[in-house]
């Protein structure tokens, strides 16, 4: 279902839980699908002993991809015209992520959204914006 411009108000929000207790296996799935096999995402031994991180961590693009699910569930299939993010904090196995879209403007058939994804501690891991076509 596409959004109706007349139903949208600045400040409206839409939130979805993206993942609960992120599993290493999901990170492996993302590595396989995307083709990014950087061992810092899947190889605990390399990541701890060579790269110097406490554990493997998710691809930023996995967080962007999961957040994209919230965005497309909100705006409807094929409606997205722009989607951009900054990765503000790393995402580790065990994290639980919630993503929120906030309406910041509606004009000329386009809704402007602020996007934010936070972890279980309330730390923002991704911050961005999106634009999507809406019905009049």
């Amino acid at each position: 279902m596409a959004l109706q411009a007349s139903d949208l108000n600045v400040g409206d929000t839409y939130t979805e839980r993206l993942v609960e207790d992120l599993k290493r296996t999901q990170i492996v799935m993302y590595a396989g699908a995307s083709g990014d096999y950087n061992p810092v995402h899947t190889d605990e031994v390399f990541t701890k002993e060579v790269a110097g991180y406490p554990s493997v961590f998710a691809h930023g693009m996995l967080t962007m991809g999961m957040t994209g699910k919230m965005v497309t569930n909100y705006v409807g299939d094929g409606r997205l015209t722009e989607y951009g993010v900054r990765f503000t904090s790393q995402v580790f196995p065990g994290d639980t992520l919630d993503a929120t879209a906030t309406v910041v403007g509606v004009s000329n058939g386009i809704v402007d959204l602020d996007i934010s994804t936070v972890n279980q501690n309330g730390d923002e891991v991704l911050k961005g914006s999106a634009k999507a076509r809406v019905d009049d």
Binding site: Y30, N38, P39, F46, M61, G65, M66, K69, G78
Partner: protein, 214 residues
């Protein structure tokens, strides 16, 4: 040479910005040699991926990996009654074009060229040229920002090609990781008719040391 030019945004940064000295020291301690990295950006656009054929099964696997069970990503019968009228790709699918880069540095090669992940030892081998050493890890290139502009949504049957050009670069002093060097690249995905499908703007950051935790 195609293999010498930047391809995906992330790889471009990793290529342009090898891991810091600290990371090289760590890699050497673990028996790995430093990556040989050359900066080969030239003016204008470089061919990034020559042929990226969009397939339904790949879209299905990609959607699963980001935890999205929307039927528009795998069920053709369902998708034909939706507004897009066919299966489409999820918003970040363009990133999977790495699969179609024969020289992508963050995939183990099958020709016995070695891999920098762990095997019998914590680090197995020297990174392949263009791999960028620790990559997203120890003080190497991290993916800082990503933006996509959708001229239309990718769908099965698209035969895309991608060209990349470097964008601006800038520096910042980071609290948790020392000096940060950001660099942008702009990748255009065009279909078999030459029509622009997706523009991807990536920003990579090279840090002086791994990001402090906590």
């Amino acid at each position: 040479m195609v293999e010498d030019v930047a391809d995906l945004p992330v790889r471009a940064y990793r290529k342009a910005y090898p891991p810091s000295g600290a990371t090289f020291a760590k890699l050497r301690r673990c028996g790995a040699a430093a990556a040989s990295v050359t900066q080969t950006h030239t003016e204008g656009r470089n061919m990034a991926v020559e042929k990226f054929t969009v397939e339904a099964s790949h879209i299905m696997m990609f959607a699963r990996s980001v935890g999205d069970d929307n039927q528009v990503y795998y069920d053709e019968d369902y998708a034909k009654d939706t507004e897009p009228g066919s299966i489409i790709a999820p918003p970040t699918f363009a990133q999977a074009s790495a699969q179609f880069d024969p020289n992508y540095g963050l995939r183990p090669s099958i020709d016995g060229d070695g891999w920098f992940g762990s095997g019998g030892k914590p680090s197995g081998a020297k990174p392949r040229e263009g791999g960028g050493g620790g990559g997203g890890g120890g003080g190497g290139g991290l993916h800082a920002e990503q933006r996509f502009i959708y001229h239309r949504h990718m769908k099965p049957g698209d035969v895309l090609s991608a060209t990349t050009k470097p964008g601006k670069t800038w520096e910042k002093q980071g609290r948790r990781s020392g000096k940060l060097v950001f660099s942008e690249s702009v990748t255009e995905y065009r279909d078999q008719n030459g029509e622009l499908v997706v523009t991807a703007i990536g920003v990579g950051v090279r840090t002086e040391r791994p990001v402090d935790q906590g």
